[in-house]
């Protein structure tokens, strides 16, 4: 049964025929050269419209769907994950440039010409050299201002996450201090007896310090393991939620090192602070009920 639905989508044309097939993530259908021209559809569009590779679809440049042209779906591709387009519907197709020109009845014009340089480090120099030769055209490196602005968004988000982490660490430290205070207080009598039988303050402090290191280290490692176990689930949830291949959480060695470097000293400090509140008392007052 023929299906008909007008779907608005973004179309991009690629100048090289070979490129059309390069980024396909799924299977390629047998292509008959005599049939309609080929296109690639994004995975999201394929799924949303229940299309399949090899199917013939009609595409029109007119929002009302007038003057459609048939295209055969040659393959499906995963759009480049773009954090700036999080939540945006990636209903896109890729056409050969002559097909797009024919579809839009436009002259032989393009939005941009991408140039691949043998040495990407020379991009800025190349842009400077070419710009005066093409008056009225904009020549710029793909890693220039737009990319800087893109990065700026994530630098800000990174700062925000860091600020949240600082507040969480402060809250956790207070929690830890409360816990160690109570832990130490529970041993009030034991510490009093140890002091009475001759243990020096320093030795008891060292004992509590060692306990603090073990507790903080175990806590930190448990936290890292928990984060590592949860990261897959978090990524899968957000990838499903936003229909994207982006990675949202990644537990890197740097993150592990930073979290251990913060949590272990904090745990040790909390142990020392709480132990000191106990040890500064006289032995007799500690063993008294």
């Amino acid at each position: 049964m023929a299906r008909r639905a007008i779907v608005s989508l973004a179309a991009a044309a690629l100048a090289l025929a070979q490129t059309l097939g390069d980024n396909t993530a799924a299977s390629q259908a047998d292509v008959t050269r005599d049939g309609p021209p080929e296109l690639l559809v994004s995975r999201q569009l394929l799924e949303a419209q229940h299309l399949s590779v090899g199917e013939v679809v009609s595409i029109s440049a007119d929002p009302k769907g007038d003057q459609p042209q048939p295209f055969r779906i040659a393959g499906v591709y995963e759009p480049l994950p773009d954090p700036m387009r999080l939540g945006a519907l990636r209903h896109e197709v890729r056409l050969h440039l002559p097909d797009l020109v024919s579809l839009t009845s436009s002259a032989d014009s393009v939005d941009a010409i991408n140039v691949a340089l043998p040495d990407p480090a020379t991009a800025a120099a190349f842009a400077r050299e070419v710009a005066p030769r093409l008056p009225g055209m904009m020549v710029r490196s793909t890693s220039a201002p737009d990319e800087a602005q893109r990065a700026a968004t994530f630098i800000v988000l990174d700062r925000f996450h860091l600020a949240i982490a600082i507040v969480t660490v402060i809250g956790s430290s207070v929690f830890l201090l409360a816990l160690t205070l109570m832990l130490v207080d529970e041993r009030r009598e034991t510490v009093g007896i140890l002091r009475l039988i001759g243990f020096r303050r320093r030795r008891i402090l060292l004992y509590m310090l060692a306990e603090g290191v073990v507790l903080a280290g175990t806590g930190a490692i448990t936290g890292v393991v928990l984060a590592a176990l949860l990261q897959g689930g978090v990524n899968r949830f957000f990838q499903w939620r936003y229909d994207t291949a982006l990675l949202f959480v990644r537990v890197t060695p740097g993150v592990v090192a930073r979290s251990i470097a913060m949590s272990v000293p904090l745990g040790v400090l909390a142990s020392i602070a709480s132990s000191w509140t106990l040890l500064r008392h006289e032995a007799i007052s500690l063993s008294r009920r």
């Binding site: 939540g87 600020a163 402060i170």
Partner: protein
Amino acid sequence: MSTATRSLAFAARSLLRQPGRAGVGILGIAAVGALLFDMLLLSRGLVVSFRELLDSVGFDVRILSSDSLPMGGARLANASQIARDLAALPEVAEAIPIRVIDAEAVPAVGFALMAIDGDFRAGRAGRAGRDGGYEGSEGLVINQRLADALKVKAGDTIRVRVSCVSGRAPLPPSPFPVAGVGEFPFDDGAQLTASTSWARLRSACGGEGDDADMLLVASREGHGADAAVRAIRRARPDLHPATNEEIVARMQQGSFSYFRQISAVLSTITLLFGFLLITVLLTVSVNQRLAEIAAVRALGFSRGRVAADVLWQSALLVGSGGLLAVPLGFALSLWLDRILKAMPGVPTSIHFFVFEPRALALHATLLVVTALAAAMYPIRLVAALPIAETLRNEVV
């Protein structure tokens, strides 16, 4: 003195006996409470702020070429005619097209040039010259940053190259008088913006192009935005009108949802954290006072009375921490808001953390629920305490 008051006083004395521990507990709850409060402000902050921003412009319906977000889809062709047709509808008070293109002031200062007509120029969102110099329709109203970048003031003339079609080479420069310096509500902290009339932009584009990014519609008083949208859909089924509420809902589904979700995740974690903190504090406190509790039970205190003591202790800890959390959360939200507002493309008038009375009510409710839940286990401990056995073990 009622039983409840006596119980409260007893719980307060129990906490005051160990001020260090109680103080640390309250501080811990204040820290997690502040974060919780901020997450509640963040959960709807962008939505509330964006809605206020849309409403402040004075139009309650936006018309687009598709169901995409404003400025995100294809342009509307024959915009002037559409605006005239829509303005004739009884439900519509005003309809004006808006278009934003790239422009460059000679020698090389790039800025966004907005073409817009109608009463909008009278100052609802930036057409008005702050210095009162704008009178005609041919001039530019520029924002202060652009005025500073170009070192111009009202009355000066600048030469501007416009790019009427995205990606195409800009047209040769043409002179634009500066009519005034204004403020544009959707500007971010670094944006250079100017506005001119629809006719002037068309003339600068060589007379071609009557395409609009969007049509702004003000519904007629007494009809409302929903009635205007229905009327527009009836008159022009090919258009995609949306009320401000619908636009905000679309934003919520898209780019705003990240902050809503991070707020939900962090709220859950902070609540869990607070629950653990209070449970541990109360449980250890109860364990250390088993002998005392058994003694007061032997003296005639009922199970309910000792359970109420634990519950009041939990309420006092959470109540004091929660009260402290609100000003702390406010201060923290200012800091976090400043961090997030540095994001490029975020209008200066948008806030990520916005106070609403419902956030305060929800904060209080969540803390009360946490206090009750956290007190459950220690209450069970004291209620099930065997008096004789405890006295024998703890005292003898």
